[in-house]
């Protein structure tokens, strides 16, 4: 009589969830330090590379909602970046108070009350065209790769070494 073979994959939901909070954390929980370092290097490199290219405007839940869904698996970093973007770098247009908050234009600034004023220079430039596309692409690829990493952490292969 043959013994039933053990499944090729384990199951560790906590590691899967941790991987979605911070890239690499799930594999760190599994004790796979080298894999965790490589995952963090790749995914955080893509995320911060996207911010370096496209600026903070690359992560915007209000104006690029579909892209934000792709970016969100990077975890806390995406939500923190979006929060900072919405609260620190966007203001209320005094002429359209019910409109969504927006970034200040080239000859505008945001005062202490969060109102856009027609003088000064903005705290951050808006990214446009190819620069914006590349910034969004990098951050979305980071998010989608972290989904793979989270699945791998949640269902770790048994025959893997280190």
């Amino acid at each position: 009589m043959t013994q039933p073979s053990a499944p090729a994959h384990g199951f560790n939901p906590l590691a899967g969830v941790f991987a979605l909070v911070i890239p690499g954390l799930g594999h760190l929980l599994l004790g796979q330090f080298r894999r965790a370092a490589l995952i963090a290097t790749g995914i955080l490199g893509l995320f911060f590379g996207g911010l370096l290219i496209g600026g903070i405007d690359a992560v915007d839940k209000e104006e690029d909602t579909l892209w934000f869904i792709g970016q969100s698996p990077v975890g806390v970093l995406t939500f923190a970046t979006n929060y900072i973007h919405q609260t620190q770098y966007k203001g209320i247009d005094p002429n359209r108070r019910n409109a969504p908050r927006r970034m200040a234009g080239p000859n505008e600034s945001i005062n202490a009350q969060g109102i856009i004023t027609p003088s000064g220079t903005p705290a951050a430039q808006r990214s446009l065209s190819r620069v914006h596309d590349m910034g969004v692409l990098f951050t979305v690829v980071a998010g989608l790769l972290n989904v793979l990493a989270a699945i791998d952490a949640g269902f770790p292969p048994r025959n893997r070494k280190a």
């Binding site: 796979q32 490199g45 893509l46 370096l52 220079t121 705290a123 430039q125 190819r130 620069v131 893997r160």
Partner: protein, 96 residues
Amino acid sequence: MLAYTPFIDPISTLWPGAYSSPWFVNVLCLALISVLTATAYKALRIPDLSGPLPRAVAVAARHIGVLALQIFFGVLGLGVVTHVLVFYLVPHIAPM
């Protein structure tokens, strides 16, 4: 020139030519995204990263390098094929 804050302002604030430079998208961004994507993906695919650190680094670097080159030249090749299709083949088949 406007002040540039990394990670807050886009790179075009520092380098205005990035908007129209073919090098920016076709070489610099493609190279960077190829290497970083290969790093994250191969972290999940390499079966054995045990042993002394220099050996593990060499194994990872070889796997990552091969995949990064495949992505880089694969995307570049797709770009060339699309260019030939749009600018030469289609006008030849259906002239305006």
